[in-house]
Symmetry: C2
Subunit: 675 residues, 2 copies
């Protein structure tokens, strides 16, 4: 029945056939006695992993390791990880260890194997890419408590404190952000808030609720009109969702946003099976979604009876990813309210700034919106994941996400006496995430949170001033909040061209090599550089240092690598004058290099100058010899340049045709001698 | 322009109009100088919250507080929180504090305000409800590192270590669970694994991928047949999802599962807009979904050309919530494979047991399934949230969840050279959750994980033995894994009746009052009690102690409160014999109490016995006088009982009609004197 053996490693192995452990009654006593003995013996072997003392000792080591990482190590490592794919698989065993390992092994692996594979988003002094996340020590401790308690919080009764602290803390945050009363749980109405994992999950929840609400209304209107629905696409009952028999199919439901809206909205539509219309924005209106553009799009859909479109929601953005633009919520509400559309505000980044009086005007109209989502893990000092989602009416969420049948729905839950958050989210389980936000608001105080948020704006202002007065950069848009969009100032290639893109991308790569990390985006067709800063811990010195590096990179590069066509021609002449034919050869295009060699260049010069003693002594680009147009000009050709080569007893020349290849200028054709 | 003021609290307040901070160029220098000075001054005020020393000191206090909670406090508190709704709102301020608070305030609030609002799922010695979660100290430290690093991991390049450790760790886990090779990233095929927040989120991802795959296949088949699609519901293009113009609408797509499947699957269908068919199971087949039942349902749908159903997926369960039943994967695969349906295995609870050889037969057929999800936060020693989702082919996920347009899809990503997990999940951002699982496997070793999982089975076996040999309980099903389903052994009311339900629920409440927490469920129409145990830290003594309490509750209750109808009649006679008319009155139904009073009972007895000296001296239920049926019997009536009342000089009687009210027996009618 049961077998007990000693493995080569000296450990006892118990093999119990399934039926013994699960089903057998007769021999249970023997099997159980054997198993219990082994079980008791085993417990001792895993004692380190279950010991309180070991936990505290290892925990202290990790706390110290983390402070060391955040304040020191991460500033010594490359800001963007340089590891190759599968670096970790190659350095870790293929299977879990059979026996327990000491904690010290893990800690040293963290330093030696994990850290080199990280990009140091938060703590590096030179990370100005994306919207830099901001966490804080108090929030990290909040996560520690969350993990240590391992509370189950799917509904109120599962652990009331988990739900109630979330309700209270989100009200605190809502007041700190000066949100309209209707979004608060403590208001008299049906509003409330919930923590989601990310703004993307929040978008799925909201768009589902909006869709179900719109479908129900359309069905009710159709029933009361006594007429069949327009069209019939997807018009069927869904027993599981309780949808009416004359439901409008999801592929007919339309969500409106702008071409600046974050991809999470498109993804949410993809998950839910909705149609997503990204409406155009322009440089003239600051890349915002205007009410008249929105109204026209919706009304066109409503007029299209053949397609039976059902507009369900509009997503406005407070702080777009590219340029931190704010859609005018007032205008959007003017469109949505009379048409009964759900107006959701994706304030993932910008929402945090609502705590500042001086930024409040950008949120005008919020009191007429249906929902609002801010990522506390972006700017509000908590680590990922904490997206705070506020709704003016919780009932559409409950109706869309609750499995509780109609007859069991209770006033307590719908009125807010008891909150069961499982019906406000996609999954069932949830962590006690309110703790970390609670820790932050208590340890920093409301004043500290505001100071932190405001700090980013001060730093961005400083960077913008430096850009505006520099000789190599120019602002691409007015700085907004903590973001500065800028460009290289140049007249080398047409702005917005592929060459212009290549120029900026080459600049980014060079900046990264100097360990300053910023990224590109596109505004009004032109590639731009984004510098995002902020945080109570970031110093003005760090921002100024980053700027100096960026300026040095741009200046050096423009001065050396980025030669003008005159420079290229001059450089070519200088090289052959100095007998440095390999350097001259490097200035040729690959095609020209296939024709010439350093040796053939040397031979050509020798034959032209008749090997005069002293060689070429003067090299001069002749201004009048520069042609910007000529009969055989090819695409990419920049100029034909005439370079005079003078020496003892000769006055020769070479004409070179300079061509643009990506952001390099090269010579594609040579013509030796005076014409 | 800018204003600087001193608030009543003595703090400096800066007010900068928006246009100054954001847009003004002219006065920027002044504003910036002012702001920078304030900003620098402020930084000092929030120093405690940003100081490394403070972090370590506070962190150590939390580590100690957690060990104290897990080993002591949680065993002293009521196992199920007894707080009333809104208890926390009433004890916390209505807004965040304006100024920073010391850490000690938070710690004392954790003890005094948070802990009483928790139900101690994991650490209580008496929690045997649901499927008890199992975390561990090493995993808590993994979460601490995760929060402290605050790594962004949406795609590989964002922080390669985050992605790669997840790939490696899930391969380790897959091998530990003896999963088929096709699910591992290290296999040659397109399989792989990803961490999801919960089995519910995993189900949404999988069912979306399955739906899109089925829709594409149907569309392709229809195109190649050159014929229009059957039916036309939802048959329209969706520009956003890239669905074909002849797409089948989602409300036509069908997911099959059983009536024992967890509600998360129904919820996933609700979110996605799919139809969910829960097929019946029975006690005869151990509450499992059988292949023939499944095949019949699918084939009926396929034959229903008018409805144009599109079967897309089947969900089998390994370890159902109610009875820990295992659907026969082999049978389900036999049905799914030839029909091209996606077969997903929800092994949220049971999956962990796949690491044990003796349980492996329950997973026969897994090598033919398309996906498999196990909640490591249930049994595998990590705190919520870590659902490990394995797929045999990653490509349908990428196609369903990636926004990358077709022409940018790359072989590297699809072949597995680089994994971008954002395309394997609903949201964009993700935490570095692999750390906690990695910590667990290293600190316990594979042998320790197996020992932990096996321990629960040993304990369940012990509990089942105690139940089987007890005088008050009986097994309701064979014990499975760490779960024992049992019932009160009684012949009082029909099994499966409402009274039987009430009886068991009253028992649960009494057990909870004695601080042993188990829950009910329903199997084959009868209410059952679930005792779930397990974990390397749970002791046999704890299980035995819980059993003794449960047995004592049942025995005491049955012996006292739960009188038989004979007991009721006898007790009534004894009470009037003892002149305790209030006690006799309490045995009457409310209706009878409206007719009688203690005084009128006393008067009736006096008139019947003629106030004989010594009163009633003997009370006897006369067996022959018990009627279980009689002409005027009403619903709920249990018996009419004849009670002889004898005293000095009289031999009288009372006939009482005993009726069942919930789980109490009461007297609804009295008839004084011999007939």
């Amino acid at each position: 029945m049961a077998s007990l053996s000693v493995s080569p490693g000296g450990t006892l192995e118990l093999r119990l056939p399934l039926r013994v452990v699960l089903l057998s009654a007769g021999s249970a006593a023997i099997a159980w006695t054997l198993a219990l003995g082994l079980y008791t013996r085993r417990r001792g072997r895993y004692a380190p992993a279950t010991s309180s003392e070991d936990f505290v000792r290892s925990g202290v080591a990790i706390l110290r390791w983390l402070t060391n990482y955040r304040s020191r190590t991460c500033r010594q490592l490359p800001i963007v990880s340089t590891v190759a794919p599968n670096y970790l698989r190659d350095s870790l065993p293929a299977t879990a260890p059979e026996e327990p390992e000491p904690f010290s092994n893990i800690l040293s692996d963290l330093s030696e194997k994990i850290l080199p594979g990280l990009t140091h988003w938060e703590n590096s002094a030179s990370f100005f890419a994306y919207f830099k996340p901001h966490s804080s020590y108090p929030a990290v401790l909040g996560e520690l408590v969350c993990a240590g308690l391992n509370v189950m919080g799917f509904d109120w009764i599962a652990s009331p404190a988990c739900t109630e602290l979330e309700v209270v803390t989100l009200d605190w945050l809502g007041k700190l952000l000066q949100l309209p009363e209707r979004f608060l749980s403590c208001s008299a109405g049906p509003g409330g808030a919930v923590i989601q994992g990310s703004a993307g999950e929040a978008a799925i929840v909201i768009l589902l609720a909006a869709t179900r609400r719109a479908q129900s209304r359309r069905a009710a209107a159709s029933r009361s009109a006594g007429a069949p629905l327009l069209g019939g696409a997807g018009a069927t009952a869904d027993a599981c969702t309780g949808a009416a028999a004359d439901d409008v199919g999801r592929s007919r439901c339309v969500v409106y946003c702008s071409d600046q809206t974050h991809a999470i909205i498109k993804k949410a539509c993809m998950v839910l099976g909705l149609r997503c219309r990204a409406l155009p924005t322009s440089v003239e209106t600051g890349f915002t979604l205007r009410g008249e553009v929105l109204a026209a799009a919706i009304d066109a859909d409503l007029a299209d009876l053949a397609e039976n479109w059902l507009p369900v929601a509009v997503v406005g953005t407070s702080g777009t990813t590219t340029s931190c633009a704010f859609d005018p919520l007032d205008e959007l509400a003017d469109v949505c309210t009379p048409r009964g559309l759900w107006l959701h505000v994706d304030a993932a980044y910008g929402g945090a700034y609502a705590c500042l009086d001086e930024v409040r005007p950008l949120f005008a109209g919020l009191e007429r919106c249906d929902s609002f989502c801010v990522n506390a893990h972006k700017k509000l000092l908590v680590p990922f994941d904490l997206a705070a989602l506020y709704v003016a009416d919780r009932r559409p969420l409950l109706h869309a996400l609750s499995l509780t049948p109609e007859y069991l729905r209770n006033d307590a839950s719908e009125s807010g006496a008891v909150v069961d958050y499982e019906h406000w989210q996609l999954g069932l389980g949830r962590r006690f995430r309110a703790l970390k936000l609670w820790f932050v608001m208590r340890r920093f105080g409301a004043s500290g949170v505001r100071a932190h948020v405001r700090a980013g704006m001060v730093l961005a202002r400083r960077f913008a001033d430096l850009v505006a007065t520099s000789e190599v950069f120019e602002l691409a848009a007015p700085p907004s909040l903590s973001l500065v969009c800028f460009r290289l100032m140049h007249a080398r290639v047409p702005h917005g061209s592929e060459d212009d893109d290549a120029l900026h991308m080459e600049f980014l790569a060079r900046a990264k090599a100097r360990n300053v990390f910023i990224i590109r985006s596109r505004l009004g067709g032109r590639l731009i550089l984004r510098f995002a800063c902020g945080g109570i811990e970031q110093t003005v010195q760090e921002v100024e240092r980053a700027f100096e590096i960026l300026r040095a990179v741009a200046r050096d590069w423009m001065a050396s690598t980025m030669m003008t066509f005159r420079d290229v021609a001059q450089h070519f002449g200088n090289s052959i004058a100095a007998n440095n034919y390999p350097a001259a050869f490097e200035l040729l295009t690959p095609e020209a290099q296939a024709v010439y060699s350093p040796e053939s260049l040397k031979a050509a010069v020798a034959s032209m100058t008749c090997a005069a003693p002293g060689g070429i002594q003067e090299v001069e680009v002749i201004e009048e010899g520069i042609l910007e147009d000529w009969p055989a000009k090819q695409p990419g050709d920049v100029a034909s340049v005439y370079v005079a080569l003078t020496g003892a007893g000769f006055a020769e020349a070479v004409a070179v045709i300079v061509v643009q290849r990506n952001c390099n200028l090269l010579i594609r054709h040579l013509e030796w001698g005076r014409p």
